[in-house]
């Protein structure tokens, strides 16, 4: 049971039957509440144990063969990160990232609310794989109690060989950025830090630190049980597996769904009940994502490869449907203002750049003025000039809006707007004064 052979299922028994089922991560029926330890083990079987060096290396290699990538938005190969942290000089630490500061996204909250033990399995497993003695799970406030409850249940059952600590995340957009998360855990300050040093070399208290999104860890927990070949039985050869998506906006049944990577974007909308109104645009990936024409994006596979055609990526799995009677420029201006306000406020080009860009977009959306050359210069000056990628993500989203809403820009220049309803499809949390 401690050795791993690609394609050979590790655990035989009742859980074996479950291995072929879909969805993999989400419950087959919603509404049952969080799965307790007993239900969890009945569905998935126990986590394979054994912490010797050979097992670690084999399992990291198996994750590499599975082709698992990070589900927090950046899509970095998980096995490479595991290997880098495992090779560190000091005893590493694992942080499970369930902060989900992306306002429109709910997939991590839903995963933690439904299957907390699957995430905890993954966190404990990752700790074992890199040689850490502690796994810290940082969960969004909305699911704090469920995660605390699940961790307590495991402690009572003396299930885990590593210490599991549960914390609540800072409810800020930038709070999920890996270095900001390390800073939050260490000092209670959700601000990104300068790089180098990279956190996999020197993160929490100077230790090599593995920060992984909670969905990634849930997939990891299943790869450890059923192997790479099982994992690759869904998805595309380049991007195997399933992924969680949050579908919001003008669809009949908005919510979180699990889809095979490569599912056409239009089918993803279909899984959410289909459009509830004629659609004007889609925002794919998240607030750092890409605006797209629904007719163009609909047939494209929801995968990094498939969305390359529109310069996009699945990001953190958001698909937002904007109805045709809401102005995309007004919606973009709202999101740009939100992202500018959510800057950690540390880097000049991010603070002033995103602020200037958001102001220019507000002027464009209200028809006050539009100076495209100046806006392009500001975007070029903000991009790539922060300690983290916050300005880059915001600029990417705005660039795609200017490309997709080109006709609307012309209309605005003539004093017209397609909006028949006020913008407000995408959630933009109001912040009290800090």
């Amino acid at each position: 049971m401690n050795t791993l052979d690609s394609g050979q299922r590790l655990v035989r028994g009742a859980a074996d039957v479950q291995a072929g089922r879909f969805p993999r991560l989400l419950p087959e029926r919603f509404g049952a509440g969080p799965a307790g330890l007993e239900d969890h083990v009945a569905r998935y079987g126990r986590l394979p144990r054994g912490w010797d060096g050979y097992w670690r290396e084999e399992l990291i290699a198996e994750v590499g063969r599975a082709g698992l990538t990070g589900r927090g938005g950046a899509g970095f190969p998980t096995a490479r990160k595991l290997a880098a942290v495992a090779a560190g000089r000091d005893v590493p630490v694992v942080i499970a990232n369930g902060t989900e500061g992306e306002p429109a996204s709910a997939k991590d909250k839903v995963l933690l609310a439904c299957a907390p033990h699957l995430v905890l399995d993954g966190a404990v497993l990752a700790a074992g794989m890199v040689g850490a003695r502690q796994a810290i799970v940082v969960a969004h406030d909305a699911v704090r109690e469920v995660v605390h409850g699940a961790a307590a249940e495991r402690r009572r059952a003396r299930l885990d060989q590593v210490k599991v600590k549960v914390m609540t995340g800072a409810d800020r957009f930038v709070g999920g950025e890996a270095s900001a998360l390390v800073n939050w855990v260490a000092h209670g300050v959700p601000l990104p830090t300068a790089s180098p040093p990279r956190i996999f070399e020197s993160g929490l208290h100077g230790r090599p630190t593995l920060v992984q999104n909670v969905e990634t860890l849930a997939h990891l927990a299943l790869i450890a049980r059923w192997g790479a070949r099982w994992f690759r039985s869904l998805g595309t050869p380049a991007e195997p597996g399933s992924m969680l998506v949050t579908v919001v906006g003008a669809v009949r049944q908005p919510g979180v769904r699990e889809v095979e990577i490569g599912t056409p974007v239009g089918d993803v909308l279909g899984l959410a009940g289909g459009p509830a109104a004629p659609l004007g645009a889609l925002l794919i990936g998240g607030y750092f994502g890409t605006w797209a024409d629904p007719a163009v994006a609909g047939p494209l596979p929801l995968s990094a490869e498939g969305l390359l055609a529109i310069g996009g990526s699945p990001g953190a799995g958001l698909v937002a449907a904007l109805p045709a009677d809401v102005c995309g420029l007004a919606e973009t201006a709202r999101v740009a203002r939100y992202l500018a306000d959510e800057s950690a406020g540390q880097c000049g080009p991010c603070v002033f750049g995103l602020g200037s860009i958001a102001g220019a977009l507000a002027d464009l959306a209200t028809g006050r003025s539009y100076e495209p050359a100046r806006l392009r210069r500001w975007m070029a000056q903000a991009e790539g000039r922060g300690a983290c990628h916050h300005p880059d993500g915001a600029v990417r989203m705005v660039r795609s809006a200017l490309a997709v809403f080109g006709e609307e820009i012309d209309r605005h220049a003539q004093g017209w707007c397609c909006g028949r309803r006020p913008a407000g499809v995408l959630p933009v949390p109001l912040r009290g004064t800090p």
Partner: protein
């Protein structure tokens, strides 16, 4: 010619005082908000002294000069 000496700005430490752009205008310009933009990270051999001076003058210690491995620190080291 590639010297391997590279300039970088720590964007968190940088406050946009702008001294670096005055000392090293060949390599550093300021953006619309007064923050330094490096034309190229690689420092050409003829500008190594100026680059070291810009690093030394930054009141926020935000400008760094990384030297290629195996070479001594700044070309003209100031001590004391």
């Amino acid at each position: 010619m590639i010297t391997g000496h590279r300039l970088r700005v720590d964007p968190i430490a940088c406050d946009g005082r702008g001294l670096c752009a005055e000392v090293l205008p060949e390599m550093i310009t300021l953006d619309d908000w007064g923050f330094p933009v490096l034309r190229d990270a690689e420092v050409p051999p003829g500008l190594l002294d100026e680059a070291a001076e810009a690093v030394r003058l930054c009141p926020r210690l935000a400008l760094r000069l990384d030297h290629p491995p195996g070479t001594p620190g700044a070309p003209r080291r100031r001590t004391g």
